[in-house]
């Protein structure tokens, strides 16, 4: 177990190292001088020279890379080109909003999608199953930015039930929750479909297993068999999917954050790319990557917790 954890952490560090390398090389692979790129075409030679000296752009590349990597690992992601604020602090302010959005989105998707999948699997080819199937495929097919725009138009503009933009007043929890509803709905809708399909498929497989027939032959209650036995096994691949989905959602959140003008990592990356604020892009992508690795690790540990065979093979 500890060996497994150590191995995974080692691997995580290696992946983050590789990401740093790629991000760093990208900056240097773009034609032209990083300082010119960073400051834009209208910068005077003096500004560029001052900037290059301050950012240690005169140093050899390997040294820059080592310094950046070392700083990143100690939590220093550099400075914003324009405001000169620390990138770490900027990300810190917004990370909470993105996490809230992603958790809320995936949360409601799981709470709805998993039971729907179970329901479809218990009565395959029933009207519940068919309806769930059609809606799931529909939900998967519609792009999330379209959902965002329609949700905005219907619930915020037409019906005026929910606020359209922003993340709510700082400190006012209920206001923040109300502001979270529409973006979370938009981000999670596709996932309801994915999860329902996934759970249905693995439930159908598990319900056909011999040990489910055994449980029925021992006279266990149908509800016990479905939720206590079948779902316990069928949920395992779904957990992996959810883990990987979190990573995907961090990027899917870009659309929702732009459309709903919510602060967050996605919007930060978008704005920084538009303004060529490379230290911020680098830092934010790095944090998103680390987050992804962390969530996947957590989902693997959850599977190990649920499945003794996996637990012991660690």
């Amino acid at each position: 177990m500890y060996i497994y954890l150590l191995k995974r952490l080692g691997l995580a560090v290696a992946v983050i190292g590789a990401v740093i390398l790629v991000l760093f090389s990208l900056l240097h692979l773009i034609p032209g001088d990083p300082a010119t790129i960073a400051l834009g075409p209208r910068a005077t030679p003096e500004t560029i020279a001052r900037y290059a000296a301050k950012m240690h752009l005169d140093d050899p590349i390997w040294k820059q890379l080592l310094v950046y990597a070392g700083n990143a690992l100690t939590g220093d992601l550099g400075l914003d080109v324009f405001s000169e604020r620390p990138v770490t602090a900027m990300i810190g302010e917004r990370l909470g909003f993105t996490l809230a959005l992603v958790f809320a989105g995936m949360g409601w998707a799981a709470l709805l999608g998993i039971p729907l999948g179970c329901l479809s699997a218990i009565k395959p080819n029933s009207w519940v199953d068919r309806l769930t199937g059609i809606l799931s495929v529909g939900a998967i097919a519609v792009p999330s930015f379209l959902v965002s725009i329609w949700a905005l138009l219907i619930f915020a503009v037409q019906l005026r039930w929910l606020p359209a933009i922003g993340a709510g007043e700082p400190g006012d929890f209920s206001d923040q929750v109300v502001h979270l509803v529409l973006p979370a709905f938009a981000v999670g809708l596709g996932w309801v479909g994915y999860l329902a399909r996934m759970v249905r498929a693995s439930m159908l497989e598990v319900m056909g297993e011999t040990y489910i027939r055994s449980a029925r032959a021992f006279g266990l209650r149908p509800r016990k068999i479905v939720f206590g036995y079948a779902l316990r096994v069928a949920i395992l691949p779904t957990i992996t999917l959810i883990g990987m989905g979190f990573g995907g959602l961090v990027s899917a959140a870009v659309f929702a954050e732009i459309i709903f003008s919510r602060p967050g990592i996605g919007k930060l990356i978008f704005d920084s790319v538009m303004s060529r604020n490379f230290p911020v892009v680098q830092g934010a992508v790095l944090v998103a990557t680390a987050l992804y690795i962390f969530v996947v690790l957590i989902s693997d540990l959850v599977i190990a917790w649920l499945d003794p065979r996996v637990r012991e093979s660690l």
Binding site: I3, K7, E209, T210, Y211, I212, R213, S214, A215, R216, A217, F218, G219, L220, R221, K224, G228, Y229, R232, V233, L306, D307, P308, R309
Partner: protein, 678 residues
């Protein structure tokens, strides 16, 4: 005596795309309290369908068309789902066929047993646990107090089946159903489970129904036997009546085909010709008429009379009563009523002394079990296990060598290593005096024409998307052999393995088990090999069909001088067709010699255990003891000293320290034991 369960006139059909398959037709037999009933039949006989009908757990496309199943005073077929739920597990319980797949892997035994006891509100959690522990103790699980908190994968195969029996008996059911309870287990474990069931039966006073195709198991366990064929009961009787005085031609044929009953060594085995009829089509007359050697015109038109004295002793056959009654039937027991296959084996002209076809010397195969980092962190220096350990073996042209061992003995690995599918660490493999061990595939490929493999799972090893015709000639295409007329070649091969030509257009899933085997044999023969390695050639086949495949293999050998290496766990079968046997245990050959001598007079205690482990299909020769206990240890825990020491009833101190070397009894019979039994 009271009747506990009475099946009356039960008929049942499955609705399939091919039409309505009448899987059970007018089944009637009583099950009396306290008795053990065996339902015996081949695949497709409907024997398991009866079990699921009793439990009300039939597939959704099944429909009961007539009859009733009276359990005490209730008709189980008329009970509601919740009524059935109350009966299942509580009054009627089941021991399942495969303990590896019938227990949920993610819950502990304590949890699973606790769940079964949910209908006992009067019992506290502690009482339930104590009761479960007691039951685990009763089925022979050592240290049940701690083992009950383990998961199924912590238990070995035999222990899992014991736990399965404990779960079934937990509620003290009135009726225990056992569905092929030993089929998934090795011979030595089968003997242990039979012994356990015998003990529990007399102790718990439960009525038991055992469903099996294994005549030995039925003879050892049951008081009464129901013989089924193609969805009908053909004969019912006391166990001795069925085994010593069978009346129905099918019962008689089934007994004659069982290799475990055949005493004299013969290269050929008796067979029941033909296939089970298609139950989707309407049947008239006697269901067995198409395969019966004594079939008369009336058998094809008129249903046979039910001839017998009581409801618990009858047979359905025209030979026994009516205008076609034959007082000469049944003939004396030593007269064979079924043929020995279609053709007479030609004398084995190919000399056996022509030198060796295949020669394996001191072969070692190791499997790595963990990476260097994990091993280093765990402080383990040995990162591999020995799957095959110092094995020497040879096959001459025209000779059959049987390689026998339980699961985990390394026999399949050895076969794959010979075919260069698994790399070997050291030793030598020569084919026609040419070293082939770990040969590069581009050099080895031409040799694959001379060495063919028959795979264990006949259907699984065939591509489901190719027709039989394409599958049979596939080896020819793979090897790029110029063949002007592939269709003619496919037909030639089909004729050779006696596969009816119309089947060439079919796909693997449309074949019966025996037909799929024939395709496997045809594929193996396509390139005119000199050596065939057959992995469990009869696994999953019915007794009546396995004779056909083995006879076919014997004929082909006589005709073409093939050498066979037959890998199997089925000692009775391999005994009849092998010249020599090699017995493997934990990757080593423990005894090696002439087949008949080894079978009659084994030298190694393990060989003796295997020979005695086979249940005898004779109710008068029931065993009173189990020859060996325990199970094959993991390769990770190879014992110091003799590999078999942990299970050997004759083990002495010396066996625990030293590894016994191979020593010879006669020039062609050797064993690895310090204290041989002869």
């Amino acid at each position: 005596m009271d009747t506990l369960l009475d099946i009356r006139n039960l008929s049942l059909e499955f609705r399939t795309p091919r039409g309505r398959v009448k899987a059970l037709r007018e089944i009637s037999f009583p099950i009396r309290k306290g008795r053990t009933i065996g339902i015996v039949g081949e695949s497709g006989s409907g024997k398991s369908t009866i079990l699921w009908a009793i439990l009300g757990l039939l597939a959704s496309n099944a429909k009961v068309t007539s009859g009733e199943i009276m359990f005490e005073d209730r008709n189980l077929l008329a009970l509601s789902e919740s009524g059935l739920q109350a009966v299942r597990g509580e009054e009627i319980s089941v021991v399942f066929q495969d303990p590896m797949t019938s227990q949920i892997p993610v819950l502990t035994y304590a949890r699973q047993m606790f769940d079964i006891l949910y209908r006992r509100p009067g019992m506290s959690a502690a009482e339930k646990r104590r009761h479960a522990v007691e039951m685990m103790q009763k089925v022979g699980i050592a240290d049940p107090e701690s083992r009950i908190d383990q998961y199924p994968h912590h238990f070995s195969g035999g222990m899992r089946q014991r736990a399965g029996i404990a779960m079934a008996l937990l509620t003290g059911p009135k009726l225990l159903l056992a569905d092929e309870p030993t089929t998934a287990l090795d011979v030595t474990l089968e003997a242990q489970i039979i012994h356990l069931l015998q003990e529990l039966k007399s102790e718990l006073d439960t009525t038991v129904v055992v469903v099996s195709h294994n005549l030995g198991l039925i003879a050892e366990l049951c008081d009464e036997v129901v013989v089924m064929y193609a969805g009908e009961v053909v004969e019912v009787g006391e166990v001795r009546q069925i085994f010593h005085d069978p009346r129905h031609p099918y019962t008689r044929a089934l007994l004659e085909c069982d290799p475990a009953r055949i005493e004299k060594a013969s290269r050929r085995l008796p067979v029941i010709l033909g296939d089970i009829p298609d139950l989707a089509k309407p049947q008239t007359g006697c269901i067995y008429a198409t395969r019966c050697q004594r079939a008369m015109p009336i058998c094809r038109t008129d249903a046979p009379p039910v001839v017998g004295l009581t409801v618990s002793r009858f047979a359905k056959c025209h030979l026994l009563a009516g205008p076609h009654h034959d007082p000469q039937w049944p003939p004396p027991p030593d007269v064979l009523t079924v043929p020995m296959g279609e053709s007479v084996a030609a004398p084995r002209t190919v000399g056996r002394a022509q030198g060796e076809l295949l020669n394996v010397t001191n072969l070692n195969v190791q499997f790595q079990i963990m990476g260097p980092v994990s091993a280093w962190m765990r402080g383990i220096t040995r990162r591999h296990v020995d799957a095959v350990l110092d094995v020497s073996l040879s096959v001459r042209p025209g000779e059959t060598v049987g390689l026998v061992g339980e699961s985990g003995s390394g026999k399949t690995t050895l076969g794959r290593t010979i075919l260069n599918l698994v790399p070997a660490q050291n030793g030598s493999v020569t084919f026609e005096n040419r070293e082939i061990r770990n040969m590069a595939e581009r050099h080895f490929k031409p040799l694959r024409r001379d060495m063919a493999m028959m795979f264990q799972d006949p259907v699984g090893s065939l591509s489901p998307r190719k027709s039989v015709r394409a599958l049979i000639v596939e080896p020819i295409l793979i090897h790029g052999i110029d063949c002007p007329d592939l269709d003619a070649e496919a037909e030639r091969l089909a004729d050779l393995v006696r596969l009816p030509r119309p089947l060439l257009a079919r796909y693997p899933h449309e074949l019966s088990g025996g037909q799929a085997r024939r395709v496997g044999v045809a594929r193996a023969l396509a390139l005119n090999p000199k050596l065939i390695i057959a992995d469990e050639p009869t696994a999953g086949l019915d007794v009546s069909v396995q004779g056909e495949i083995l006879n076919l293999m014997a004929d082909l050998q006589a005709e073409h001088g093939l050498g066979y290496l037959i890998i199997t766990h089925n000692l009775p079968v391999v005994r009849h067709i092998s010249d020599r046997l090699a017995i493997m245990y934990l990757g080593r050959i423990v005894e090696h010699g002439p087949a008949d001598e080894i079978f009659r007079n084994p030298a190694h205690p393990y060989t003796k255990a295997l020979v005695e482990g086979v249940p005898n299909p004779d109710p008068d020769r029931r065993r009173t003891h189990v020859s060996i206990s325990g199970e094959v240890p993991s390769l990770l825990r190879r014992p110091q000293g003799c590999d078999f020491v942990t299970r050997c009833p004759y083990a002495q101190d010396r066996c625990r320290i030293e590894k016994p070397p191979h020593s010879r009894i006669t020039p062609d019979h050797d064993h690895a034991c310090f204290f041989p039994l002869r």
